[in-house]
């Protein structure tokens, strides 16, 4: 049995502040990425796509790790709010993984000469995208609230294995994709300081955006849960 009713959490009250923070942070990050940071010696201005591509990929990782944590918490406590967090994060994760693939493809055309390359990072990211689309499908095909949440939580735990595989794939196999330049084992980023600052600013802005989208989507999911629980009662 789901033992608690779906209540609005205090985090949802922070939504307007998160929205404002996202807009401000995105403006600052875009100025840094497009105006302040220097062009790359080899790639020129094409390098600027890095700031959104990497920030998108970071957000996808974050979203799927949150799915995992919320799934564990749901199985542990059976509180519907964790199921709401898991589905919200999975949807945002799928959206940003899709954008990562599209932006990566746009970046690949001028740098690698092709829109798509069968190289490990690209393939493992595409596989991760397919896995979480499957996760959302599983949820949509299940009508019973509790069973859906339990099944989805199990899948959310199993699928997280792919996140480190995606990140480490470039170090395990010979790849066209460049090696990690920020999250490196020796913790020493290889980027120019201005580029690194711009990338960090964009990542912070995207994280605010993620938090804002999460609060909005969790709210929608909690309302849906409340409606379903009311119908069942």
């Amino acid at each position: 049995m789901i033992s608690t009713t779906a209540n609005r959490t205090s985090a949802l009250r922070a939504r307007p502040f998160l929205g404002a923070a996202s807009v401000i942070a995105l403006f600052v990050a875009l100025w840094m990425a497009l105006v302040w940071s220097p062009p790359d010696a080899a790639m020129g201005n094409v390098v600027r796509i890095l700031y959104v591509h990497v920030a998108n990929a970071w957000l996808a990782y974050l979203a799927f790790v949150v799915v995992f944590l919320a799934s564990v918490a749901y199985l542990w406590t059976k509180r519907p709010v964790f199921d709401a967090i898991a589905v919200a994060s999975a949807e945002i994760g799928v959206l940003f993984t899709g954008l990562t693939l599209v932006l990566g493809s746009i970046w690949a055309r001028p740098t690698w000469g092709v829109w798509w390359s069968w190289e490990p990072r690209v393939i493992t990211t595409a596989v991760m995208f397919a896995m979480y689309v499957g996760y959302l499908l599983l949820r949509n095909l299940s009508e019973d609230l509790e069973r859906r949440a339990t099944r989805a939580a199990i899948l959310g735990i199993v699928l997280v294995v792919d996140v480190p595989i995606v990140h480490l794939s470039v170090t395990w196999m010979n790849a066209l994709h460049q090696l990690p330049s920020v999250l490196r084992p020796d913790l020493s980023p290889t980027l120019d300081p201005a580029m690194l600052a711009s990338l960090i600013a964009m990542t912070i802005a995207f994280t605010f955006l993620y938090a804002y989208l999460m609060t909005a989507r969790v709210d929608i999911e909690q309302r849906r849960q409340a409606r379903l629980l009311a119908v069942r009662a």
């Binding site: 199985l75 596989v127 991760m128 397919a130 896995m131 689309v133 499957g134 499908l137 599983l138 095909l141 299940s142 069973r147 339990t150 099944r151 199990i154 899948l155 735990i157 199993v158 699928l159 792919d162």
Partner: protein, 221 residues
């Protein structure tokens, strides 16, 4: 969960299959058809290349495992036998393990039939038959822990026929890559490569067996 219960469920599967062998017949026919159709699509010359022949074989095996497992659970659902099994103490873990053991045996038979057909139709040369057998055993072992877990997750869902392959195939990517490369290595005489990929397959099977046994009881609640 006791070994007796696992043996009981695996034996029950074998009895059901002997009485009405639709699981093995459909899986073997499916593998044969897929190998034929895929070989025709890429052309016999390309299909007889070790890497291509191995890939065709293992893709067919993955789909056949999904088909056989789904059929096995359909049989349980048709006569509501699954509820009786789940009511047993430790029945959920035993159901997972028993089904996985039964599916391993069934897929081993399908692998022999499908492998013989591939050898015959594509006139394949095998440089290291012993290594090929090891890779095939490891590849077969790596299929059931994943497939049974995902069929259990999709149990009683509408459109599960379409959902299970969507869920299983991305997770089976390491199995497909390792089995294909290991088989191709054994066919072309790369001893170290065949052993390396077989080791990866065994590790994959172990990880998903442990994961499955840990969480399947919750999935069947």
């Amino acid at each position: 969960m006791t070994l007796d219960r696992i043996r009981l469920i695996a034996a029950r599967e074998a009895r059901a299959e002997r009485g009405q062998p639709d699981g093995i017949v459909s899986a073997a026919t499916f593998v044969a058809t897929l190998i034929l159709v895929e070989s025709l699509a890429v052309g016999p010359l390309a299909a007889s290349q070790p890497a291509v022949a191995s890939a065709l074989f293992w893709i067919a095996m993955a789909f056949a495992a999904i088909l056989a497992t789904s059929r096995s659970f359909e049989r349980e659902l048709e006569d509501d036998a699954i509820d009786a099994v789940l009511a047993l103490p430790g029945g959920r873990d035993a159901l997972y393990a028993g089904k996985a053991v039964a599916l391993t045996a069934l897929m081993a038979l399908v692998a022999v039939a499908g492998g013989a057909l591939s050898l015959l139709l594509l006139s394949l040369d095998i440089a290291l038959p012993g290594h090929l057998a090891i890779v095939t055993v490891a590849g077969v072992l790596a299929l059931p822990p994943v497939v049974v877990l995902f069929v259990v997750l999709a149990l009683r869902l509408r459109s599960r026929g379409a959902l299970v392959p969507i869920l299983v195939l991305p997770v089976l990517v390491p199995q497909l890559v390792a089995a294909t490369n290991g088989t191709a290595a054994a066919m072309s005489g790369d001893m170290a490569g065949a052993f390396g990929w077989a080791g990866l397959l065994v590790a994959f099977a172990l990880v998903y067996s442990v994961l499955g046994l840990t969480i399947v009881a919750t999935a069947l609640e």
